[in-house]
Amino acid sequence: MEPLRTSSDNRPAKLIIEEVSKSFVASRAVVHALDNISLTVPEGEFLCLIGPSGCGKSTLLDIIAGLTKPDAGRVLADGKVVRGPGQQRLVMFQESALFPWLDAFGNVMFGLKLRPDLTNHERRKIADYYLELVGLEKFKHAHVHELSGGMKQRVALARALAPDPQVLLMDEPFAALDALTRDQLYSDIQRIWMESRKTIVFVTHNVREAVCLGDRVILMSPSPGRIAQVFDIPLPRPRDINSPDLAGYAYEIAAALKGTLEGAAYE
């Protein structure tokens, strides 16, 4: 297992996805969700997966998380084969998966309570720290239904960050939010990522979002789900979603995305 390095830079590989395939049996037809995907994510990278619906990007995220088993191939995290979910790779879902029977603080504490190496005092301090990081220290004891959509996703982000995972997996986390709230969260997530330098895999179908956040954008094509094209985004950070610098990249990726759809239509 010598050099776990990528071609593009010399950071060690955090995640290695090796020839992963997955198909589902839907009503009467077998859907090839993923076909022979190989991908290496270096430590500290912000990687965006983009593609039309049905390209398997969320399935790939589930496989990295360990929530779904691939039919073929494997995922290595820090050189170890992923066999199930674990606190090293936490997921933030599209809809808020916050637990309504707990308040904001209780939700952030949930993952921490499963860390036997921490004392209760430490857990509380960590939970407070992350609630403050996402700007919700005043809503510590708010019930989930009292929070707005954006606030819920902030709590979900704090909950995912609190157990200090190596990898953060985000499945279209901002898709259900309004544009203003999203813009605010883009700068928050970049700030938090630059401070914590976690490895992030971010699934989206929004091209500008991918360009704004990603070091690299992986474009996937549907049926079967494959990697169509890889784009490097060497723009300085923090990036503003409305900056004209993004537009060129976004235009290029949007055109390629359209191409994958046409290709699929004629297949």
Binding site: P85, V91, F93, E95, F99, P100
Partner: protein, 257 residues
């Protein structure tokens, strides 16, 4: 406060109507006793202890049977929610027996247990357990799968997942199931007490039964009012706090749904 006043006026008016009907003289006072004589019966029975003794005997049976029913029904319901096979077997059995009016268990209980406390408990448990199973199963199946997925990624598995995620997530269904189980338990116990005379304890149902035997309508109506009051109090004291908790946490109006 305003709601309380309206309620008081409503019930006051009911009693006045009742009294007017008695005073009209159209019905014999043997069939329709006046509110005063019913109140008088309740008061006397309270003072001489018969009412409290009977209520204590009844409530003891109810609580023991109900708690046993919940202890049996809750895990079974969680279990049936986990597998299709258990759902098609135990789940189907529960659904079938739940439709059986619980008074139908009385003849069987009498033959099996005789005129004993055991027969009473058996009927109450049979009244409770099936609806608790169904409600729990229903609740656990209706949990958004994303809760379980989120919990798994955070390392929650097995016992922890059941007690910290599945159980609280199905709380809205559980509370309505427990409430339904309570209602069934209460109804089945009354049926059993009216049918079966046993020497180990003289419950409210027995008082009702002997009221009929003695043609004492003030006793019959008085006991009926006590039974209604106990049911109402149980709802208020046992279930309303839970419903308010759910309302606060989930933000949904459980009562309205």
């Amino acid at each position: 406060m305003k709601r309380l006043v309206i309620a008081l006026i409503f019930f006051g008016a009911l009693i006045v109507l009742w009294d007017l009907a008695v005073r009209s003289g159209r019905w014999s006072v043997v069939l329709l006793p006046s509110p005063i004589s019913v109140a008088d019966y309740i008061w006397t029975a309270l003072l001489d202890g018969t009412l409290l003794d009977a209520a204590w005997v009844t409530l003891k049976r109810l609580f023991v049977g109900y708690i046993a029913g919940v202890i049996i029904g809750l895990p079974l319901g969680l279990l049936t929610s986990t597998s299709q096979v258990l759902e098609d077997t135990i789940g189907a059995l529960a659904l079938g027996l739940q439709t059986l009016p619980s008074v139908c268990w009385v003849p069987l209980a009498l033959i099996w247990f005789g005129q004993t406390e055991g027969a009473m408990l058996f009927v109450v448990i049979m009244g409770t357990v099936w609806s608790v199973i169904i409600a729990t199963d229903n609740g656990a199946r209706n949990i958004p799968p994303i809760y379980a997925r989120a919990a798994r990624t955070m390392g929650s598995e097995g016992f922890h997942k059941w007690t910290r995620v599945i159980l609280p997530a199905s709380l809205p269904f559980l509370v309505s199931g427990m409430k339904q189980g309570w209602a069934f338990a209460w109804r089945s116990l009354m049926a059993a007490e009216i049918y079966v005379t046993i020497l180990t304890g003289f419950g409210l149902g027995h008082l009702l039964h002997y009221g009929r035997e003695l043609n004492a309508m003030d006793q019959v109506i008085g006991i009926m009012i006590v039974i209604v009051l106990i049911g109402w109090l149980a709802d208020r004291c046992l279930f309303s706090p839970w419903e308010r908790f759910l309302h606060r946490r989930w933000g949904t109006n459980v009562k309205a749904s």
